[in-house]
Structure formats: C-alpha cells, structure tokens
Symmetry: C2
Subunit: 289 residues, 2 copies
C-alpha cells in the first residue's frame, strides 16, 4: 500500500494548498490526466490535470448549490441536461426529484464516469441506478450545436476551468446554443469560477458578460468551497424569465425534511445571491456604459 | 533585501496553505511571536505564533463583518469596547460612525499595536488618529472582571484562536463578565472559529454553547475568509435583546454610498445568518435536550 505524500495544487503563482494523501490510481485518458487520492481530512478526491475536482468532504456544498437552487425555482421541470459532471454528484442530487422525466448527461470523457464509479461510489452511485438517466459520451459544445430547439427545461454546466477540455463551455456561441436548447422558462446554471484571485476573477467576468448578453436574467451566487482556490466560489444563474430569488417556489422540497441537505437551505439560497460590493463591482464593470 | 520564500501554515495535521512571501520583521514579545511578511497576492500580512492574523488582501471581509453587522443593529450606540484587535482594523471601521463617543481597545500586547502601525498602516492608521479611542494594554479577561456594570453598548471580541493568550476570551466567566459590562440592549460579537475542520468546529461549538447559556439572543454568522483555514469563518452575535436580522436598522449607513464597504452590504448581513444545515446541526447538538 502506498504511503501518504503531499498533494499540492498551485492556486496562484504564489499560493498553494497541500493535502497529505495517498495516491490510489492515475490514468492518462485521451482528454486529460486523472488521479484519485485518499486523505484523512477530505476523504477520497480526484483531480484532472492536477487540479482538485471533487472531494468527499465538501462536494455537497458544490452539488447541492448547483442543483437545488435552479430546481427550487423551475416550475415543474421535466427534462434536464448536464454538461460535464462525469463524477455523478450532480446526477445524484437531480434524481432525488421524482417529477423529472429525463436527465441527459453529456460528458466528453467516459473514463471520468467509469473511474468515479470505481473510486468515488458515494458521489457516482446514481449513474447506473436510475432509468431516467442517459449518458452521452461526446463533446458538450458539439452536442448543444445540434440539439433541437427547446429540448430542455434546465441545463447545468458542471465544467472544469476554462482551460483544456472545458474551454468551449465558457464561449458566447455555447451560451447561445444553450439558450436555443432551453424551453420558454428555461434556466441555465454554470460553474462560474471565483472573484478572489485575479485569474479566476477574469474568467468570472468574461463568463458573466457573455451570459448577460445572451439571457434576459443573469445573476451570480456564491458559496463556500474549501477545496477550491480561496474557498469562495460562484455559480451563474441565467434564465429566459424566472428570477432566482423572487421566483423561488415557497414549497420547494430541498432543505426541508422531505429532501434533507447538508449545505443548501432556503436561507442559503436567498443569501447566496447577495454579493459583496466588490464582487458586484467586478461583475458590473464589464458591462459598463 | 530578503528573498521570497514559502510561508506555510498547517490548517490541520494534513492540510496546509503556503504563500510565497518575503519576511519583513520578526520579534518575540512577552506574549507571543509576531512576524510580518509581504506577498504579491495577499499584500502585507502578519502572523502570531505562526498563524495568519491579518492580510491586506482580505482583512476587510473580516473587519467589516465584525463591525458593521452589530453597528447596523445597535440603536444609537455610544460606548464600544474592543478586546484584542491590536492591528487596528476593527477600530478603523468603528471610527467611521460619528455618533460613537468612546472606543476602548484592550489589547494584551502593545507590540502588536506598535508593529502594525509600522508595517500595516493601511489597517492600523486609525489607532492614533481619533480622540475617541483609548488604548489599554492589559489582559482583556482581567479588564472585564473589574469593569463597572453596563459600561458599554457593544463589545467586540477580536481575538486569536482559543489557545495561548486568546484562551480566556472563550470562557464562560468571560462571557458572563461581558454580559454584566453591557447596557440593557447590549450586543457582543466575537470571533467564532470555523465549522469546517474538526478542531475549529469543536471550538465553535464550545463557544456557542457558552454564549447561549449567557445571552438570551445568540446566533452565528458566516463569511468568506480566504487566508483562514478552509476559508469558511464565523462570528457570533449575542445580545440582551436585539436580534441580528429582524432588528437591523433600515437606515443603517454601512454598505450604502454614505459608508461604502468592500464586503459588507445589507444583503450580505442578512444572508450571513442563514447557515448550512450541517452547521446549524453542529451548533444545536451541544445544547440538545
């Protein structure tokens, strides 16, 4: 059995987080390098090209905020598309809603799915367990180009950073295709980087500008993500109409005893859309007069 | 001029954050070791006994949430006590309120104040600049024991972790003395550790239990603090009556154009008191039936 060593991720050129972990498995797929580790504090986790993706210890912060925020706003959604999210955490939260009829997951790298099923079953367990799920192993950008109009009620972009395979998922054209693929009250939620470190803040601003140019409603919400750079992370909420706070359904189940959650609650939902003034300023500058 | 090297802080036994920084100055005071550094991403920062205290880049998250939350709830406060806070950041935010008549700062270690004035003027600048400020270099626990009843409208406990000089500031006796030292609508806000890593979560639970046993109103609020372990940090809000959300003054200036802020806003104030369910559960267990 391998020894515990320090896994280190550079968050900036001069800030790095290190986790003492045992390397469980590594593989070069056609798209990226994937590695699985085990650590005392964060449980099992995996990285893509050396960057932390999903750790057992805080993945619910991410997956609950990605799924339950739009699912608490959308009126009777039936068809959902996940782009990316091969680890299965987003699927796991989605299939808790009995009203959903179909969930398509478009993941470019089948090896992410298969290896997460093997090494991270607490996250990936839903992937094979629900007949409403369709797995499609192809490029999300290309898939969205060809999908018929108004195919989905909700699209969740559960992507890596805008480098490597994830780059196209932050483009104008991709957001326009998402708009077209959504029905009349459609909602798009996407991984939206972070306002704190400069390079992530640039990605955040670019994504927000493009989303605002595409969707009539475009907001950003924040949450704590200890394994990600600075721990301060964002999702984007864009829609053809529904507003994330005012239109939240009073009887949404997430965070109640009908659907218990670890991080999400009605109060966290509303609070997450209140932004620190410096974040609001960063987001508004891009669209300034 | 010294080279940049890696400053590393252990957040747990198996998680550490490293910042490339130049060491500016270090000193052993009668109470603790203090060091000043300079880094590209975090600006200047200082540590006590090797633990990150204040960094220019995110100190406003901390100081604004510590000061403007209670100052937006308190009705016409006149006298404020700060326990700890020798860096001056809490003072800097407090003296923005013209209605305050007196601010006493009780700091056990005068060297923290003097060195922050020298190395961190952006944080410490208010210390000598306002005639309402009284500096008292003594033990906060002893000071509170002897202070006359109902001396203050607001007490801010801007302390280190509950080890070393900060330990007594998390004790039952200390909270009882704070209660006694506060006037009829008095508010106590204290540094309340973090729910994420186990050792900090234990301190959080202990502090909350003791506060709840002492004050009729006792809540906890969260904020993003990238330089602190996990980035997910808490303050405690305890009072003899005022409630932190319902009793927030609609005309509080913080976060408006009358008193611009970087992190605090009315929305952030309200949102910060909504806790993730697992944090609420951790806090409630201690006081369970």
């Amino acid at each position: 059995m391998k020894e515990f060593e320090w896994f280190t991720e550079d968050h900036t050129g001069d800030v790095r987080l290190s986790i003492k972990a045992r390397h469980l498995y590594g593989e070069d797929t056609p798209f990226q390098r994937i590695d699985f580790f085990e650590s005392a504090t964060f449980g099992k986790f995996f990285t893509l090209d050396g960057l932390m993706m999903v750790a057992e210890r805080d993945e619910r912060h991410y997956h609950e905020m990605l799924v339950h925020v739009p699912m608490s706003v959308a009126k009777d959604p039936k068809k959902v598309l996940i782009v990316g999210g091969g680890d299965g955490g987003t699927l796991r939260e989605l299939v808790r809603y009995p009203g959903l009829e179909r969930v398509d997951l478009v993941e470019i790298d089948e090896r992410v799915v298969r290896l997460c099923q093997q090494f991270l079953p607490s996250v990936a367990s839903a992937i094979d367990a629900d007949p409403r799920i369709n797995l499609l192993f192809e490029d999300g950008v290309r898939f969205l180009k060809e999908v018929p109009d108004a195919s989905y009620d909700l699209i969740l972009v559960d992507s890596t950073d805008p480098i490597g395979p994830g780059e196209g998922l932050f483009s104008c054209k991709f957001y326009q295709d998402c708009f077209r693929a959504l029905g009349p009250d459609g909602i798009l939620v996407n991984q939206h980087e972070s306002p704190f470190y400069e390079t992530y803040a640039q990605s955040m601003r670019r994504a927000h500008k493009r989303l605002r140019e595409t969707f009539p409603v475009s907001e950003v919400y924040h949450f704590h993500m200890p394994t990600y750079p600075s721990g301060m992370w964002l999702f984007g909420f864009a829609s053809k109409g529904p507003r994330p706070v005012q239109d939240r359904c009073a009887d949404a189940p997430a965070g109640t005893s009908a659907m218990p959650t670890r991080y999400y609650s009605a109060g966290m939902h509303v609070g997450a859309f209140a932004l620190p003034p410096y974040v609001a300023a960063l987001l508004s500058e891009e669209g300034g007069a």
